[in-house]
């Protein structure tokens, strides 16, 4: 088990290293650096000004060296101006001129400086991950029970009318990407001129102008049913269909097992068979899928957070990419790798505990 864990962590490190280097190389292409200089110091700068800005801010060194600086295996760049002021990577990060020439990268715990948000990357990422954590928690609270109920109900009697109806619903929801469902929800539920809100307002069923808010910015301070429903629903529905399909497949398989037939021949009631004998065995597969679904949900988080302007991790990733915020993008990639591999790890370990056959062998 220990060896397995070590191997997994080693894999995680190698993946993160490769991914961050690719991101680093892509964000440091000359055209991208020019964009960065222009967003930082004036969009209408001349080429000479861009070159001088890049040089003064440590972007002039070779790519590999700067990647080493970010990792913390190479000393940060230092530059002394004519008037004696010392600038440098570590001077900015540590806020003291004495730090010039030290190493200050990932290994030293310095995640760098976000050019888009003008703050330490570590602070930005922590704050934004917190916001996304809340969103994901609500997504899982909505998605998991809904998916399991739909899947179990559909899988109980394969081919029945309930099965066909619920399966159609599940397929439809998983086939609708977030950028479609999100827009549809806004049009249907969050507009005072179209959809059902004007009707409800006319009947006096809702106090405000709209049923739900099509903008989740206020959820940053205070999460309410009104401002959080649509983003949560948008992400949850997409993941829900997939998990429900897997649960259904697993359930139908269990329902054809010999021991279920035996129980039924012995006269055990249908509800008792489902609840006591089938359910637990049928939930092993969905558990793995739910864990593997979490990294997929990160996709949905990017789309949904941007659509509803909710400043979480996905929104930050988008902003960092659009503004070529190099160190923030790198940190986001590290976080994404960690999320993917940690959920995989949990699903592997959890599987061992849920499935006695693997545990005993």
């Amino acid at each position: 088990m220990l060896l397995f864990l070590l191997r997994r962590i080693g894999l995680m490190l190698v993946t993160a290293l490769c991914l961050t280097f690719v991101v680093f190389a892509l964000t440091n292409m000359p055209a991208k650096l020019e964009t960065l200089a222009k967003t930082q110091a004036g969009s209408r700068m001349s080429d000479a000004e861009v070159a001088s800005w890049l040089d003064r801010n440590g972007y002039g060194e070779p790519l590999v060296m700067r990647y080493g600086e970010w990792l913390g295996v190479w000393p940060g760049w230092v530059r002394e101006d004519e008037d004696g002021t010392v600038t440098g990577r570590c001077v900015t990060l540590r806020d003291t001129p004495e730090a010039a020439g030290e190493r200050c990268g990932l290994l030293q715990g310095d995640w760098g400086f976000s050019t888009r948000f003008r703050a330490d990357v570590a602070d930005v990422i922590t704050a934004r991950l917190g916001a996304t954590g809340l969103l994901m928690m609500w997504v899982l609270i909505v998605m998991v029970p809904m998916a399991l109920i739909v899947g179990v109900l559909a899988g109980m009697r394969e081919g029945s009318r309930t099965d066909r109806t619920l399966s159609t619903f599940a397929i439809a929801s998983t086939a609708t990407p977030e950028y479609v469902s999100g827009v549809l929800f806004i049009a249907l539920l969050a507009s005072s001129t179209v959809g059902i809100s004007p009707i409800l307002a006319e009947w006096g069923w809702i106090d405000g102008r709209v049923l739900f808010q099509g903008n989740a910015r206020s959820a940053m301070d205070n999460i309410t049913l009104s401002n959080f429903t649509l983003p949560v629903l948008t992400i949850a529905l997409y993941g829900m269909g997939y998990v429900a399909r897997i649960t259904r497949a697993s359930m139908t398989e269990v329902m054809t097992q010999q021991y279920i037939r035996t129980a039924r021949l012995k006269g055990v009631s249908f509800s008792k068979i489902v609840l006591r004998h089938a359910l637990r065995n049928a939930l092993i597969a969905p558990f793995t899928v739910i864990m593997l679904q979490i990294p997929w949900l990160l996709n949905g988080v990017v789309i949904s957070e941007v659509l509803f302007s909710y400043p979480g991790f996905g929104w930050t990733l988008y902003e960092a990419a659009v503004n070529n915020d190099i160190e923030l993008l790198l940190a986001s990639s590290v976080v994404a790798v960690v999320v993917v591999l940690v959920t995989q790890l949990i699903s592997d370990i959890g599987y061992v505990y849920l499935n006695p056959r693997i545990r005993i062998s």
């Binding site: 110091a41 004036g42 969009s43 003008r118 969050a190 102008r209 099509g214 401002n227 509803f308």
Partner: protein, 546 residues
């Protein structure tokens, strides 16, 4: 304007009196008169006095104190004010960083940190009178040396992206302030000695990068160390998310009682997709937007956020870069120009929300505008001319940014060229990459914000080697005429030179400039004083809510 009533005497100025006569003779409309007369140093009531009119009262309603205003506006990472390249950067800071003068919605200049100024008749010497009794919010007194310090900062062209340097040319030498250009006469008087006449100097000081900073300001973030003269202070500032500004209770503002009505202003950055602004308005989370365009204006109207309009000299320049083939050939430029009917571009590309322009980048609302014979488009003549130039088969490419109104305008331009039989393709670039090369594209469209005087954009964009010269236009006669115009205070006289300048622009086929844009803002009905401003100024110090 109310604050000025008691204090001002009508300081007479020979040129201003001539403007008044011109106005009487209906040569000038009121807006032109105000811009010109106030640029020469007349205070607004005095300028109105010359017209034989009383200055209008600030507003019929008495502003109410208190309340929180929530406004949709992009919040970008801050930096040194003189390097600001977006009005939004300035707008967020207007509560504590004030200006020497303000450009008003009606086209006049209002003194702020200056009490008044005078120009010599040839516009080569300016005397600035600093407003007495102004203090910084750290307790220091605001004096003439603070003004001199800021002018010196503006003149430092060695700072990357310092766009004020391009406006202060007549005070500069070797990329820095010229010795003797600024004299501090006494605590409240500054004299400026210009190397060449510049009628735009005072107007330039109302431009958004000209915010007045404290002598201790060295860093690049005016929010982190918010020493200013205004009545507000920043509470938070998060790029991409929003900013909060609250009234500064520890500071006595010089203009107490004539502004600073709101307790708190929240700017909310909702990204660039107008659909999320609408969603936020529907949810009741914003009171007004920053700027609405196209269909979005109507949608906001429909959900109870009526529009306000500002007529501007803002425009889109569909320009050729003469450093690139085949646009170095004048006949090609003129042929392409000839194929385009500007009125149709306005209708298709901008929903008719503006006025037709004449391909010379001087607007009828500019004081020195000279009317030229109308330009006519002619598709067959255009094609014939192109054939003559040997470019009948050439494939042209018109580049635009992905912003809808700009893309649609270029589509309308390209469609007309196609109708004339010209082989043209369209390329749309995302905003993040478009601005990297905006001065170098062979044939592309650029958005230009307005400047109060006609000579200002010409100086920036069409003079040989001008900092923002994206057309690579270089014409000796044009340059010398522009120098001449820069020194003529008399409107009619300048207009005559301007007529020649405009004609050169047209004859040389420098650009297709289809229309002047009106700009719009939608605000809830209980928001007052927040009408759209022609230069996108969000002077929230004057806003109030009922």
């Amino acid at each position: 304007m109310k604050d000025l009533h008691a204090k001002r005497e009508a300081v007479r100025h020979p040129v201003a009196e001539m403007y008044a006569r011109e106005h009487a003779a209906r040569k000038l409309d009121r807006r032109e008169f105000l811009t010109r007369a106030t640029a020469l140093g007349l205070a607004v009531p005095a300028a109105y006095g010359l017209l034989g009119l009383a200055a209008p009262e600030a507003s019929a309603q008495e502003p109410q104190m208190g309340g929180t205003l929530r406004m949709q506006m992009a919040i970008k990472a801050q930096r040194d004010p003189r390097t600001w390249d977006w009005s939004e950067l300035a707008n967020a800071c207007r509560g504590w960083l004030e200006y020497l003068v303000d450009y008003q919605r009606d086209g006049s200049l209002q003194p702020v940190l200056l009490e008044s100024w005078e120009a010599s008749d040839d516009a080569t010497t300016y005397t600035l009178h600093v407003r007495p009794g102004v203090t910084w919010n750290n307790g220091d007194a605001f004096t003439a040396s603070d003004v001199a310090h800021n002018i010196e900062r503006w003149c430092d062209a060695s700072v990357e992206g310092n766009s004020m340097a391009s406006r202060m040319g007549s005070l500069m030498e070797d990329d820095a302030l010229r010795d003797g250009a600024v004299e501090v006469v006494d605590d409240l008087t500054v004299r400026l000695n210009l190397s060449s006449p510049d009628i735009a100097l005072i107007v330039s000081m109302a431009d958004y990068p000209a915010a007045i900073v404290h002598p201790s300001f060295t860093g690049d973030d005016p929010v982190a160390n918010p020493i200013g003269t205004g009545p507000y202070l920043p509470v938070s500032y998060d790029p991409g998310i929003g900013a909060v500004v609250e009234r500064n209770t520890d500071h006595t503002w010089w203009n107490e009682g004539n502004g600073a009505y709101l307790d708190r202003i929240e700017f909310i950055d909702l990204g660039t997709d107008p659909a999320s602004w609408i969603a936020a308005a529907e949810a009741g989370e914003i009171d007004l937007n920053y700027q609405a365009q196209g269909d979005i204006i109507d949608i906001f109207d429909a959900i109870g956020y009526p529009r306000s309009e500002a007529v501007t000299a803002a425009t889109i320049a569909v320009r050729f870069n003469q450093d690139n083939e085949p646009y170095d050939n004048k006949d090609v430029r003129l042929a392409l120009q000839k194929a385009v009917n500007n009125a149709i571009v306005l209708e298709l590309g901008y929903n008719d929300l503006g006025t037709v322009a004449e391909n010379h980048h001087v607007c009828p609302i500019h004081p020195e505008y000279a009317e030229l014979p109308p330009i006519e488009s002619d598709a067959s003549a255009a094609m014939a001319r192109l054939e003559e130039a040997g470019h009948a088969e050439t494939e042209f490419e018109l580049i635009s940014i992905d912003e809808p109104w700009q893309a649609e305008t270029c589509d309308a331009v390209a469609a007309q060229m196609r109708d004339a039989g010209i082989n043209i393709s369209r390329t749309i670039l995302p905003g993040a990459t478009f601005w990297n090369d905006w001065t170098k594209y062979p044939f592309s469209a650029t958005e230009w914000n307005m400047r109060p005087l006609g000579v200002q954009v010409l100086n920036l964009a069409y003079r040989t080697g001008g900092p923002w010269n994206e057309t690579a236009f270089s014409n000796e006669e044009f340059d010398s005429l522009l120098d001449e115009a820069n020194g003529i205070a008399d409107a009619d006289a300048r207009s005559e030179v301007m007529a020649r300048i405009e004609t050169i622009m047209q004859e040389e086929g420098v650009l297709i400039q289809p229309y002047w844009r009106s700009i719009f803002r939608n605000a809830a009905e209980n928001v007052h004083g927040a009408e759209m401003h022609p230069t996108f100024v969000v002077d929230y110090v004057k806003y109030w809510k009922s």
